[in-house]
Amino acid sequence: MTLKLIAEQLINGLVLGSMYAIVASGLTLIWGTMKMLNFAHGELYMLGGYVLYFTLMVFGMHPFWAVFLAMLVVFFVGVLIERALIHPLLDKPGWDVSPLVVTLGISIFLQNFALKVWGERFKNVPYFIEGTMEAAGFRIAYQRILILVVAAGVMFGFWMYVKKSRFGIALRATAQDRESATILGINSHRIYMLTFGISSALAALAATMLAPLFLINPWMGIPPQLKAFIVVVLGGLGSFEGAILGGFLLGTIESLAIVFLSSEWKDVVSFVVLILILIIRPSGFFGTKEW
């Protein structure tokens, strides 16, 4: 166990963590605005992976357009889910439970849909950029660097968008006080619909970036969904900053766990972290802050 190994694992941790952050920010975005948990988030991630497989491998598109199309398709799937299945539950009694049941149902449906339609054979996509970079004795695959760059760019762009744009202000206003937002002319139903779409597209983005590292299969959404829940609890439900920080933290902790224990233990370590956080600081790092 050398310092070099630790350093390499740290970088891997940041790469993985950046994607945890992206998946978790989608989850936290929905919680922050609609006060509901989306149990189908992992399956939207999975759909992103499959769309990428088709755009990249079947239609032979350039990776940029393949990723873009995957995000777009999953955005509309998210919008459709919100319109058809979540929207009718809004403002009805039982809102604290009903979206859980519905999204869990969607999750089970989508997994079995993928299994039935696309089969149980795992699908492989190549790295978007072949080769590795060698610097200061380190070897890092370009794909991993690409992941980090994309994650940083998307997170910064999204953060600025939410802070500065008309839509971002409306989104935060709706999250904090829906009725006040309504009298200012903000259509909260439209905000919810778009929030769901954006959240889904973020999940799809993470799936497409990680697909070359892992494999595409009907169950690929389960681990990121679980990790995203841990991240969101770690960072504080509904907090964007918390999701980013929590994502990087969890990725790093897992990668170091692989070095010091073994790869079988990394999930144990992440759940221990979750339990510790729940004991020590149940509201997470940014738990009291809202959008």
Binding site: R166, A170, R172, D177, E179, I183, L184, I186, N187, K289
Partner: protein, 234 residues
């Protein structure tokens, strides 16, 4: 300008308003007086579409507000400062004001409109990067009025702006309301503090347990024995 005609409003099965009618003419300040739970806020909430009347009609310059989606009512030029300010507490003062400029027309003109508001309330300029929840009560009320005014409405609904504020602050806010009215904005002011409300209002209505019981010009209401006894404490 604003005409409420015989509305019945319910919360679930519980009726809150019975055949409430009220008129506000252009450029008028009209106050709606009444005690706690009399139906003042309910009336305003019906006007801004948050509650739909089961009977009766609400119209603004001939347009039926009760048939419009609540988020589209501001497009008719009607803005509402809700009871208890209801600011976006975890957003900055500036973002609160920008949220008030959400309508497409106001968004285009947002910088000038926000500038106009901070000229009326200079304290908001100082506080612009502070979270709205950290403002004092008076500052929050100013911020709430400014947020509602950024869209440059024709009619302003004000729900108990004096609530919980020191008398000197209340006076400042009412001066501003008069100034806003002087600029041509029609005002419907809901108040428990009848004394100060009747000082700036042209006319007033009194509502009790969901029914209108009195109406008249302010000078009359100030002299009315019932108003004196029940609302002015004389």
């Amino acid at each position: 300008m604003l005409e409420i005609h015989g509305i019945d409003v319910f919360y679930g099965d519980a009726q809150a308003l019975w055949e409430v009618s009220l008129r506000v003419k252009e450029k008028e300040i009209v106050t709606l007086l009444g005690g706690n739970g009399a139906g003042k806020s309910t009336t305003l909430r019906a006007v801004s579409g948050l509650l739909k009347p089961r009977r009766g009609s609400i119209s603004l310059a001939g347009v039926r507000l009760d048939r419009i989606n609540p988020h589209q009512i501001i497009l008719q030029g009607l803005s509402h400062v809700p009871e208890g300010r209801r600011l976006f507490a975890n957003m900055t003062v500036m973002d609160n004001l920008l949220a008030g400029a959400y309508t497409p027309a106001a968004w285009k003109n947002r910088e000038a409109a926000v500038q106009g508001m901070v000229e009326i309330f200079p304290i908001l300029k100082e506080r612009r990067n502070q979270l709205a929840g950290t403002l004092s009560g008076g500052e929050q009320q100013m911020c709430a009025i400014a947020r509602a005014m950024v869209s440059q409405p024709r009619v302003l609904l004000l729900d108990e702006p004096s609530l919980g504020l020191a008398p000197v602050i209340v006076e400042r806010i009412f001066e501003v309301v008069q100034k806003i009215n002087g600029n041509g904005v029609t005002v419907l002011l809901v108040e428990q503090n009848a004394h100060i409300a009747l000082q700036i209002a042209h006319r007033g209505y009194v509502i009790e347990t969901g029914r209108m019981v009195l109406e008249g010009v302010s000078s009359e209401l100030l002299q009315n024995d019932y108003v004196k006894k029940a609302y002015l404490g004389i």
